[in-house]
């Protein structure tokens, strides 16, 4: 079965959970997915569906998700994540995606603004920065899932980190002239 089909089934099946169990499972889902960006996705999604099916069955037998799966889900999920193999391919795919999107945007901006030359050094540095910020965002969302019980605090923390990343990104872009000069210099050297 395709991973996208498994995810679709998960979305459908999740509606069978009651309010409390749904919140429990969705926290688990968010935490798991944010922490397994570079791990085997088919295996991870298969596991998420398997756990969902079992929680639904427990619910049918009058057992809540936390009674069934455990009152400290973070520890359980961390142990689970350790068993899912790392996938180098997905790391390269992620880097490629960020580099691709970023190059496309900066190239089109340069073309539109009658840019002077291509700055590959800067492109790679900024891709690295975007990559780091993306990872930071995912890690913060994962941390917020189990760190705060209150929903609003979770949202505030997640958006706060996203905002900070954006600010860092914009701030870094203003360094362009200096780095431009540096790259050109090394180019002619």
């Amino acid at each position: 079965m395709k991973t996208s089909a498994v995810i679709a089934q998960n979305n459908l099946l999740r509606q069978q959970l009651d309010k409390v169990n749904r919140r429990y499972y969705e926290n688990l889902l968010i935490y798991f997915r944010c922490q397994t960006l570079f791990r085997a996705e088919p295996q991870g999604e298969g596991l998420l569906l398997e756990i969902l099916q079992d929680i639904i069955e427990a619910q049918k037998h009058g057992q809540s998700a936390s009674e069934y799966f455990g009152r400290q889900p973070k520890a359980m999920v961390d142990a689970l994540i350790d068993e899912i193999p790392l996938q180098r391919k997905s790391i390269w795919q992620f880097c490629g995606l960020v580099l691709g999107i970023y190059s496309l945007i900066s190239l089109s901006v340069q073309l539109l603004t009658t840019a002077h030359f291509l700055d590959f050094g800067f492109l790679f540095i900024e891709t690295g920065l975007v990559l780091g910020l993306c990872l930071l965002i995912f890690k913060s969302i994962a941390a917020a899932t189990y760190y705060y019980q209150h929903r609003i605090l979770k949202i505030l923390l997640s958006y706060g980190v996203i905002g900070l990343c954006f600010a860092a990104f914009v701030g870094f872009t203003s360094l362009k002239t200096y780095l431009h000069w540096q790259t050109v210099l090394s180019w002619h050297w």
Binding site: G46, E50, I51, I56, G70, L80, D82, I84
Partner: protein, 120 residues
């Protein structure tokens, strides 16, 4: 929360128990946990068994297969492999030796505790 040592110990024991259960019949996650609960492991959060199942599968002791379920999508059923059968035998043997030794060792302690309780 249980200490690290006892949680490690529990993991090993639970893995062995899962092998024993699966040698009797093919089961899926929820059924494994209810079987474990029926045997008295009702204090164990069942989130514990999923990493164990993954690890047992990785080691080749069990294998999983999707089978149609009455309602909803296919379910993952686990069966014991030939290597798993051998591992189960090894676990039982190891457990018997361990439990005899430990029972022997703590017998005196238990007796002392009981008698000190009585004198209180």
């Amino acid at each position: 929360m249980t200490s690290k040592v006892s949680s490690q110990m529990l993991k090993g024991i639970l893995s062995g128990c899962i092998l024993v259960l699966l040698s009797r019949e093919t089961l899926y996650g929820y059924k494994i946990s209810t079987a474990l609960m029926a045997f008295g492991f009702d204090e164990v959060p069942m989130g514990t068994i999923y990493p164990l199942l993954l690890s047992l599968e990785k080691k080749g002791f069990i294998q999983s297969q999707l089978q149609p379920s009455e309602n909803g999508p296919d379910r993952k059923y686990y069966t014991l492999t030939a290597a798993g059968k051998a591992e189960k035998k090894a676990f039982i043997k190891q457990w018997q030796v361990l439990s005899t030794n430990v029972a022997q060792l703590i017998k005196e302690d238990v007796y002392e505790d009981l008698s000190s309780d009585r004198t209180k």
